[in-house]
């Protein structure tokens, strides 16, 4: 049979088809032309006539090429690497390189798109987390010279500094210190604070502050004045300073309000000032009232946040030293007011405020940096692939005298342009991500979260991250360029040369690094998942399903005594008990997993307080409603009244703490006896422990007192009590019925904090859920990028080995053998990465140990599971290129170099 191939190839040359495709078309048309040729011969044509007639249909027909051009995809040739020659002027050269880089990038949209996406994800995640780090940890507090503000509090060796001070301690520090210009004490007014008039009642946020507050914060009211020393004394006038927001929204920005009175918590207070717009102190406060503390106060409730402004030239450390000395002096004068290991601590206010999340935020920033590194490795790999396609051209350019530095400068410019485009995308992603994060962030997890916003530091970070990233991923092809062997590169079959081999090794190293980093990230996410799961499995000590809680916050003259409040509550109990769907109702002064409340206590026979424990006022049905277990003794009942013997029930933690294995029943204690309740109470029961602060903390020692025996001084605490209902069905369905019963009870009463206990439990583990969600997101991103990286390398390797694979198959290799060959190569890379990743994780996850619960940082189960996951992901990423390898047509492959 005549050879038609050359003639067909010559015809197809102008289409510049991919070599494999061209070979296929040549083969197909060759057979067609041959059939025609033989038909013509059989019909009586001469050999020459048959030859030319058969060919002419294909080789003389412009329409064929025209039609084919539209049908077939044309191989894009890489644009030439070098821009026009240097102008000699650096700025002009850079501008030239920049424009050229834009053109080059624009000509390869798929390549550019993948790079930009990977970079945008990496840079965007980093920018988002840095924005939070910046606002919470780096930005100074929004007060003048805020670095001079120092918080003073109780400190115990070995535990986190923090903790409020009592009035006597505050007075002592204020009067004896040399380190501070001024010292102030503040306390929140409580959630029941309200402003009212004839028509409307608003619950507001309020702060009790000493007169020096404004000097310490270095902020004066925008209108009116601060408190005077007289107003801050016991028996001083009832005065109030309004927050700007309350003044605008409730008082219509009334300029004449200074000097007028408003009703605060049912009492008349005269307005003496309005704070400036935007002033915040632990959030936006609506009202400030003076402390009016007795300087000789013996009140040992540690409820005051104490902040001081340092004298010029002094540091927080110096203040700390002085505070420790002062504490010893205090201890020598008032030994009964201090605990054994207690001392004073002084720390910069900003550091103290944000200490709880410092570790978490730096960990998150570390995790997203890993994602960015993986993205960099990916893009570097893609750049190397592209460089491989341009290798011959690069070699030619260098051989004819194009300096390698010029080429490197161009590569770097291209890389920087790509990175800046990716960075811009990342900034948009960060903005979107921050908005999403604000919705999902659990309340109170991150202090200063209201200050999270983009500022110049964030923009600079984003720019720097983009530039650095661009430099880093351009280094690989640039460094490689310097080592190109010109002679080898200029020959045919370029990937068997040293250049091709080094580049292949570099790509493999990058892939191994990607897998290792992805594994480290996924292990972190896995540990968070186990922490979260462990927490969810913790027994809170009571049955959480079908339990509804709510408050009715009685206030005003109708409920100004314990007796009146109790009367209201008992009437409420009757109503709620009779609602359909309610099995039982009780009352407690504080729900578990809600805020806490503690009082000092003393056992009979002791002179000194033994410490402070949780204090709860409850109705007799409380333990039944909560499905808690009475371990010893009995519950409260109707006989435990105001006129009967004073009794108490304690939990197991209290019994262990106070009686260490001995019998708790019939022991006697008084709790809050310094200020609230002098009664010596007999312990009549021991109940199981319940969680209070959080599911991960140990259950605190708790003393329960019957509501009916609440002392007169307990009215404030009683007002914040919660009803708790055991329901037959979904507790939240009872909301409407509850509201109408409360309205029928007293139309002026609100229904507040209505929620199911399941919601409360959910809220308490919300921080761990948040940690897990974020780390999973980062690990998912890292995994995806690493998988894409492996896939890209394997796909490229397969395409480079087409000739070899074709040869093997022509010599008899089966499909599954080829599959195995490619998979083995890929898995070798993957497994190396997994091993490296395990070693890295073993070292790095120790950083997480404070965030974990119930699982160690080097938990072998988690490490093994994640290793298997990564191996599986690697297998999947290798499978598709491997499968494509088995479909290589040996004949086509052998013809194609």
């Amino acid at each position: 049979m005549p050879n038609w191939d050359d003639a067909i190839r010559e015809r197809l040359a102008e289409l510049r088809l991919e070599p494999v495709r061209e070979s296929e078309i040549v083969e197909e048309w060759s057979e067609h032309i041959n059939d025609r040729y033989e038909e013509l011969l059989a019909g009586g044509a001469t050999e020459n006539e048959a030859l030319s007639s058969a060919l002419v249909e294909f080789t003389e027909n412009d329409e064929l090429i025209r039609e084919l051009r539209q049908t077939e995809r044309v191989v894009r040739r890489e644009p030439p690497l070098l821009a026009p020659a240097s102008t000699g002027n650096m700025a002009a050269d850079f501008w030239q390189d920049f424009r050229y880089a834009l053109r080059t990038i624009g000509k390869a949209p798929a390549f550019t798109g993948i790079c930009v996406l990977a970079l945008a994800l990496g840079i965007g995640a980093n920018t988002a987390i840095f924005t939070v780090v910046n606002a919470v940890l780096l930005r100074p507090l929004p007060y003048p010279e805020s670095e001079k503000l120092v918080e003073l509090g109780r400190a115990f060796p070995g535990s986190e500094f923090g903790g409020n001070l009592s009035e006597p301690k505050f007075v002592f520090l204020r009067d004896h210190n040399q380190s501070f210009e001024n010292l102030t004490a503040t306390q929140e007014m409580g959630s029941n604070t309200y402003v009212s008039d004839d028509t409307q009642t608003d619950f507001v946020q309020g702060m009790i502050v000493s007169a020096d507050f404004f000097r310490v914060m270095s902020i004066a009211p925008a209108r009116g004045r601060a408190f005077t020393a007289n107003e801050d004394s016991p028996g001083g006038d009832r005065v109030v300073i309004l927050g700007d927001s309350l003044w605008r929204r409730r008082f219509g920005s009334d300029d004449t309000i200074i000097g007028k009175t408003i009703a605060l918590n049912g009492n008349a207070f005269m307005v003496v000032g309005i704070m400036p717009l935007g002033f915040e102190y632990y959030g936006a406060q609506d009202v400030f009232v003076p402390m009016q503390m007795n300087p000789a106060s013996k009140n040992e409730g540690h409820n005051w946040t104490v902040i001081g402004r340092l004298r010029p030239g002094l540091s927080a450390e110096q203040a700390q030293s002085e505070a420790a000395l002062l504490f010893e002096k205090f201890r020598s004068i008032y030994p009964q007011q201090v605990q054994r290991n207690e001392t004073f601590g002084a720390r910069t206010w900003r550091i103290n405020m944000t200490g709880s999340v410092r570790e978490l935020l730096w960990i998150l920033l570390g995790a997203v940096s890993l994602v960015l590194l993986i993205a960099c490795a990916n893009v570097a790999n893609l750049q190397l692939t592209r460089a491989a396609a341009r290798q011959k051209e690069i070699a030619i350019r260098m051989a004819i005298g194009g300096g390698s530095w010029r080429l490197i400068r161009q590569l770097l410019t291209e890389g920087l342009v790509l990175a800046l485009i990716g960075g811009s995308g990342g900034l948009l992603l960060a903005i979107w991500g921050l908005n999403a994060m604000r919705q999902l962030l659990p309340d109170g997890l991150i202090p200063r979260v209201e200050e999270v916003s983009l500022d110049w530091r964030v923009l600079i970070f984003c720019l720097a991250a983009s530039l650095l990233t661009g430099l880093v991923f351009s280094l690989a092809p640039a460094w490689h360029l310097l080592r190109v062997d010109l002679n080898g590169a200029l020959k045919e079959g370029t990937n068997k040369t040293g250049a091709g081999v080094t580049r292949g090794r570099l790509r493999n190293v990058l892939v191994v690094v990607e897998v290792a980093l992805a594994l480290a990230l996924t292990v972190s996410a896995g540990l968070m998942l186990r922490t979260f799961a462990n927490l969810r499995g913790v027994e809170p000590g009571f049955a959480t399903q079908n339990l509804l809680g709510f408050e009715i916050s009685p206030r005003g003259k109708s409920y100004d005594t314990v007796t009146k409040i109790n009367g209201l509550y008992l009437r409420g109990l009757e109503r709620f008990r009779n609602l359909p769907g309610v099995e039982a109702v009780a009352i407690t002064s504080k729900l578990p997993l809600d805020a806490q409340f503690n009082l000092p206590y003393r056992l009979r026979g002791q002179n000194q307080f033994a410490g402070a424990v949780q204090y709860r006022l409850i109705t007799p049905d409380y333990f039944r409603v909560m499905k808690m277990a009475i371990r010893k003794g009995r519950q409260f009942d109707a006989s435990d009244s105001r006129s009967s013997e004073a009794v108490a029930i304690v939990n197991e933690a209290f019994a262990k703490r106070s009686f260490a294995g001995g019998e708790a029943l019939d022991q006697q204690l008084c709790i809050g006896c310094d200020k609230f309740d002098p009664a010596m109470r007999r312990i009549v029961g021991v109940v199981n422990d319940t969680k209070q602060q959080s599911l991960s903390d140990i259950s605190p020692a708790t003393v329960f007192v019957p509501l009916a025996q609440a002392a007169d001084g307990m009215s404030g605490i009683l007002r914040q009590a919660s009803f708790v209902c055991r329901t037959t069905g979904d507790p939240l369905l009872l909301g409407t019925a509850i509201r109408s019963e409360v309205h029928a009870l007293d139309p002026s009463l609100p229904v507040r904090n209505l929620h199911s206990m399941d919601q409360l439990v959910g809220r308490s583990i919300a921080p761990q859920r948040f940690n897990f969600s974020l780390l999973s997101l980062f690990s998912g991103l890292g995994l995806l990028l690493a998988a894409v990286g492996i896939y890209a390398v394997m796909a490229y390797n397969v395409s480079q080995r087409t000739h070899e694979i074709g040869l093997r198959m022509a010599l008899g290799a089966q499909g599954h053998q080829v599959l195995g060959l490619v998979l083995k190569q890929g898995m070798r890379l993957g497994l190396t990465g997994v091993v490296l990743g395990l070693v890295t994780s073993y070292a790095a996850t120790r950083l997480l140990k404070n965030l974990l619960f119930g699982v160690s940082a080097t938990d072998p189960v988690t490490l093994a599971a994640v290793a298997l996951l990564l191996i599986g992901a690697t297998l999947l990423a290798c499978y598709f290129p491997a499968r494509r390898a088995t479909r290589v047509d040996p004949l086509v492959a052998l013809r194609h170099e």
């Binding site: 078309i25 197909e28 048309w29 057979e31 067609h32 027909n61 084919l68």
Partner: protein, 110 residues
Amino acid sequence: MLDREVKRGSTEVLILALVQDRPRHGYEIAKLIEQRSEGVLQFHAASLYPLLYRLEKRGLISGRWIEKAGQRRRRYYKLSVAGQKVLAEQRKTWKDFFTALDRVAGINPA
């Protein structure tokens, strides 16, 4: 000779119909069209192969290399599932067209 435009519009259905029964290679398809149309329709390479490749790209036919005993391998095309649907639609369209032609201009294809 048939008008170029009419030919263009009908080539797709011709090819799809011919590969419906069994897979065929390009030369066979061209020869069958010529034979069954008694020379009225002739497809040269310029029309045939670009169209075959377009149909393959659209997923209406699928090509495979087949080597028969004693022969060199050839590329055979067969109808895909999507192609079956398109062929059925196009047959209906052409039928309706001829019915309309008959009603208006008395052109009976039978």
